[in-house]
């Protein structure tokens, strides 16, 4: 047994952390947050040059072919830095969907473009309120064209292509759902940027009108591909969340050491110490669940669905817990726009929703645990 990242993987983490500290300081996040850019283009190109966008894409498709443990390491750093780039939508969602279900031609066309930073991708799944479910997908596909509306779509306004979940049958079964690949520049789809809880990451509404689309994977297998994609993305997003949680904890710790009140550093008050200790506890439990998820993801183990749900739940909780208490430790300063605390708070609460809410994953975890117990 070795329940840790390897030395090479840790080295990669250090490299990514150093790179992001330099190229993605809080000032860069604010540029996007304040609405002065839709995403950080320089950072995106830099990430491509570092090989981080294609870290888990096979070499034959222009990636580094390192694997998913390495991608987990990068994901954690992206979360720590709150990188304002379409990393999760392109790499965890679009690239994974193509890796799982794409034809040889689709892989050849899109994966190298992702790895080189020249194509941004996304997954168009949701249609308004609700959690991932086949029933909630109404957007219709017929004769190779799509009609309907998707929202929220992460990074939908800047995407070059979208994987779209559409209804192709009416049997009431999961097999009614199929996936399509839409080239956003080919016409037939209109993207509108939406305001959201966390403006450092874009959200959009996509309206499809007789939009030409090519199938991704076999007809009727959309839902099965989607659930795999969501599980895989859940692990990767959980690493982002743990990265964010850790950073929020560090910020709180540092502030508590520097800030003097009543003649002492506030970090010497036990109420503050214990609040920070509890933040450490939730971040640590989440990290450990994430490691298990990383193992399951990288080996494609049958435990993946259960491990992914556990990682997702505990990382969501940890990030929310650390982000909110980081503001509390900062007192009145923490409630100002000027301090960075709110950026972590926003991101924590936005990432808690993106792949389906906490209650959705709680349900999923219990279903999966029951299945394992019954087996």
């Amino acid at each position: 047994m070795n329940f840790d990242f390897s030395d090479e993987q840790k080295q990669m983490r250090d490299e990514a952390r150093k790179f992001l500290a330099e190229k993605c300081p809080p000032k860069a996040v604010r540029t996007v947050l304040d609405g002065n850019a839709s995403y950080d283009k320089d950072l995106w190109q830099g990430l491509a040059e570092m090989g981080f966008l294609g870290v888990a894409i096979p070499e034959e498709f222009g990636g580094a072919g390192a694997g998913h443990l390495e991608l987990c390491v990068i994901a954690e750093e992206m979360g720590r830095a709150l990188a304002p780039v379409p990393f999760s939508s392109t790499v965890y969602l679009a690239a994974e969907a193509i890796l799982i279900a794409g034809s040889a031609a689709q892989k050849k066309k899109w994966l190298p473009a992702i790895a080189s930073g020249s194509a941004i991708g996304t997954l168009a799944l949701f249609e308004g309120k609700g959690n991932p479910s086949p029933e909630a997908i109404k957007l219709a596909a017929a004769g190779g064209t799509l009609n309907g509306v998707k929202k929220p779509v992460p990074d939908g306004a800047i995407a070059d292509f979208a994987i779209v979940a559409a209804r192709t049958g009416s049997t009431g079964r999961d097999s009614d759902i199929s996936l399509f690949l839409v080239d956003m520049k080919a016409g037939g789809v209109e993207a509108k940027a939406l305001t959201s809880l966390d403006p450092s990451r874009g959200q959009a509404e996509l309206t499809f009108k007789n939009c030409k689309a090519e199938p991704l994977g076999a007809a009727g297998e959309g839902w099965s591909v989607l659930s795999q994609v969501l599980d895989r993305a859940a692990v990767l997003m959980a690493f982002e969340q743990v990265g964010g949680a850790d950073r929020a904890l560090e910020m709180g710790r540092d502030y508590a050491l520097d800030r003097i009140a009543f003649g002492r550093p506030i970090g010497s008050f036990q109420a503050v110490k214990h609040m920070l200790a509890d933040m450490y506890v939730s971040a640590t439990l989440a990290r450990s669940n994430c490691y298990y998820g990383a193992w399951a993801l990288s080996t494609n183990a049958s435990e993946l669905p259960e491990a992914a749900a556990a990682a997702r739940i505990s990382a969501t909780q940890a990030f929310q817990h650390c982000a909110k208490n980081n503001i509390q430790v900062h007192g009145g300063m923490g409630f100002t726009w000027e301090f960075d605390c709110h950026m972590y708070y926003r991101r924590a609460n936005a990432t808690a929703l993106g792949l389906g809410s906490l209650s959705y994953w709680e349900d999923a975890l219990i279903d999966r645990m029951r299945k394992r117990n019954a087996a």
Partner: protein, 415 residues
């Protein structure tokens, strides 16, 4: 990142499995499997006797105290081998309960501070369960504040004379030896006047009085010392350096208590899977599922946190203060889990007789034992202080008694 056994680990596992299959007291397996925190008893058998027989058998074949050196009754095994053994020993591991303090705290302290002859004399019978040890630290005036203890040790010739009282001493009523922290100089600041010894619990002047606990059991005791004589050769560490010696004990305590703490989750999950509520199966209920999921990720988080710690140990890192997390999380979790299981049964949750659901009694036992878990070996608050100060590097609490001679420290809160 992998869970696979190396070839050596696989061979070790196979050997352990085979030996356990051939030697474990299987007649108790089911009962042990079903027992939960606060409830390990065996019908029609004295659990102490059963435990001693099993421990001796293990020791005779080299399966006791696996990580201890061979010459002291162990096996010199790696941290991972120790975990493999625990996995394979399964429910029979619950029989080690009464040895935890000796194996986890007293043994390592002896190993670090006793003379070589003493180690060879005292450690092997401790490893084999023939002799049981207890830890005599806490006093009415010194629990969290261990260094506030008052039991006096005074030098008379080659011996020390002990007078005072300990409390909450687990297992003192069946222990053969104990490690004892005493005050040897009340005129200096409290941490600077302590000295550690080990002693024979049958020494004249030692009186053990079992205390009935809140959960009805009697696992801990008051221990009185009246002119008890301990030879200087049984001193551990230097005179007035007992605080440093006790830190070794406490650090090991955290590791051994923190490792396998129960959370109550497996029991709750099984229970909810079978339970019918008024409007359907409990496991289909939205609220039940949400609670279960929250506890499930805590339980798995703890499990994988300890695996990370073991991986670090096996690479030669030392067990650090981050191990405080296990008991801190599990202690309040088991308390909450047990209360919730009872809540799900409505009014009937209050009943505990054998004619009522077996589960009720089990969760009630957990509920009533859990407060002790949150106190023993360091309270939740002390664990949080340790994490805040030693892991996160926050300032220590302000200690008003730090530079005051021990005999000048106030002894009462009000008036």
């Amino acid at each position: 990142m992998n869970f696979d056994d190396t070839p050596q680990e696989a061979a070790f596992r196979a050997e352990a499995k085979a030996w356990i299959a051939a030697n474990a007291p299987k007649q108790y397996e089911e009962e042990l499997r079903k027992s939960s925190l606060g409830r390990t008893q065996l019908k029609g058998a004295n659990i102490l006797e059963v435990a001693k027989v099993w421990q001796k058998k293990k020791a005779d074949s080299g399966w006791a105290c696996l990580h201890w050196p061979k010459e002291y009754g162990g096996r010199g095994a790696s941290p991972i081998e120790r975990v493999i053994w625990q996995q394979e020993e399964g429910p029979f591991g619950k029989l080690s309960g009464m040895f935890i303090i000796g194996h986890g705290m007293c043994g390592p302290t002896m190993m670090a501070f006793a003379g070589e002859d003493q180690k060879r004399k005292y450690l092997p019978p401790l490893a084999s369960g023939e002799k049981i040890w207890c830890q005599l630290f806490s006093e009415p005036a010194g629990g969290s504040d261990v260094a506030g203890l008052r039991t006096r040790a005074e030098k008379k010739g080659d011996d020390w004379i002990i007078n005072g009282q300990k409390i909450w001493t687990s297992g003192a009523h069946y222990s053969d030896y104990g490690i004892l922290l005493t005050r040897t100089d009340p005129n200096v600041a409290k941490h600077k006047g302590l000295t550690m010894f080990f002693l024979d619990m049958k020494s004249p002047g030692v009186e053990v009085k079992p205390i009935k606990q809140a959960n009805g059991a009697s696992d801990f005791n008051e221990v009185y010392f009246t002119d008890v004589r301990i030879p200087d050769s049984q001193r551990l560490g230097a005179v007035n350096d007992g605080w440093n010696v006790s830190l070794t004990t406490l650090m090991n305590e955290r590791m051994s208590i923190g490792a396998g703490v129960s959370t109550g989750f497996p029991e709750l999950f099984e229970f909810c899977n079978g339970l019918m509520l008024d409007d359907g199966p409990a496991i289909e209920d939205r609220n039940v599922r949400s609670k279960l999921a929250n506890w499930a990720v805590k339980a798995s988080g703890l499990k994988y946190t300890s695996m990370r710690a073991i991986s670090a140990l096996s690479k030669g890192e030392r067990p650090g203060p981050e191990n405080s997390i296990g008991k801190l999380v599990a202690g309040s979790m088991i308390q909450d889990v047990a209360a919730y299981a009872l809540d799900l049964q409505g009014a009937a949750g209050v009943l505990s007789g054998p004619e009522d659901a077996e589960a009720t009694g089990k969760f009630q036992a957990m509920l009533l034992r859990a407060p002790g878990t949150r106190v023993e070996g360091g309270t939740d608050e002390i664990m949080r202080n340790i994490i805040a100060e030693r892991v996160l590097g926050l300032p220590g609490d302000i200690r008003v008694d730090k530079d005051v001679p021990f005999n000048k420290i106030p002894t009462k809160g009000r008036g």
